[in-house]
């Protein structure tokens, strides 16, 4: 039962973060928010008994993707500057 509560909290945070990722004016915040969505998703995977997936999502989705986004953001900023 406590799992369910955790899951609900996770779900709500993920959704809020997702909306934020898309609608926040600041790109840095958006990128971080997207990373948080991924991170919380990996916790959710753990709850769903999928540790392999959770590891992958954490490493790739919230780790590497975010890094790449920041690089791209940097690049675009420079191009526009």
């Amino acid at each position: 039962m406590e799992y369910i509560l955790i899951a609900i909290v996770l779900a709500i945070v993920m959704l809020i973060m997702a909306v934020m990722a898309i609608h926040n004016k600041k790109l840095e915040v958006a990128i971080i928010a997207a990373g948080v969505v991924s991170l919380f998703a990996s916790v959710l995977y753990l709850l769903l008994a999928a540790p392999d997936v959770a590891m992958t999502e954490a490493a790739i989705g919230s780790g590497l993707s975010t890094v790449i986004f920041f690089y791209v953001l940097n690049k675009i900023r420079k191009n526009n500057a």
Binding site: I4, M14, L15, I22, V37, L48, I68
Partner: protein, 103 residues
């Protein structure tokens, strides 16, 4: 309350993430945000897949000592979608990287 359980909550979350992701892809002018929409879309899909793998009250498909090797079928969740998600996540990264490149 049938829907008030782990798998339902997560699958709903998954679907909602997918919708939000598509919304982002379709409406955002900023390309980075479009790509973020993309990753959210992907994450949503993965959540759905993992939820489908879930079997109520079962543990991870790793046959360590806690599970043993007898009557495994009654103890673990479905490993197949998990394997697929693994692949899908990596593919998603490839796609995201490529999309990011194209601007």
């Amino acid at each position: 309350m049938k829907y008030f359980s782990l798998e339902y909550i997560s699958i709903i979350t998954g679907f909602l993430l997918v919708v939000i992701g598509i919304w982002g892809i379709l409406t955002q002018k900023n390309i980075i945000k479009m790509i973020i929409g993309f990753t959210i879309f992907d994450t949503g899909l993965h959540v759905i897949m993992v939820s489908i793998a879930y079997v109520r009250g079962k543990t991870a498909p790793i046959l360590d000592d806690a599970v043993g090797i007898k009557d495994v079928a009654d103890k673990i969740v479905d490993p197949v979608p998990q394997a697929l998600v693994l692949t899908a996540i990596v593919i998603g990264l490839g796609v995201t990287a490529n999309v990011s490149l194209c601007n």
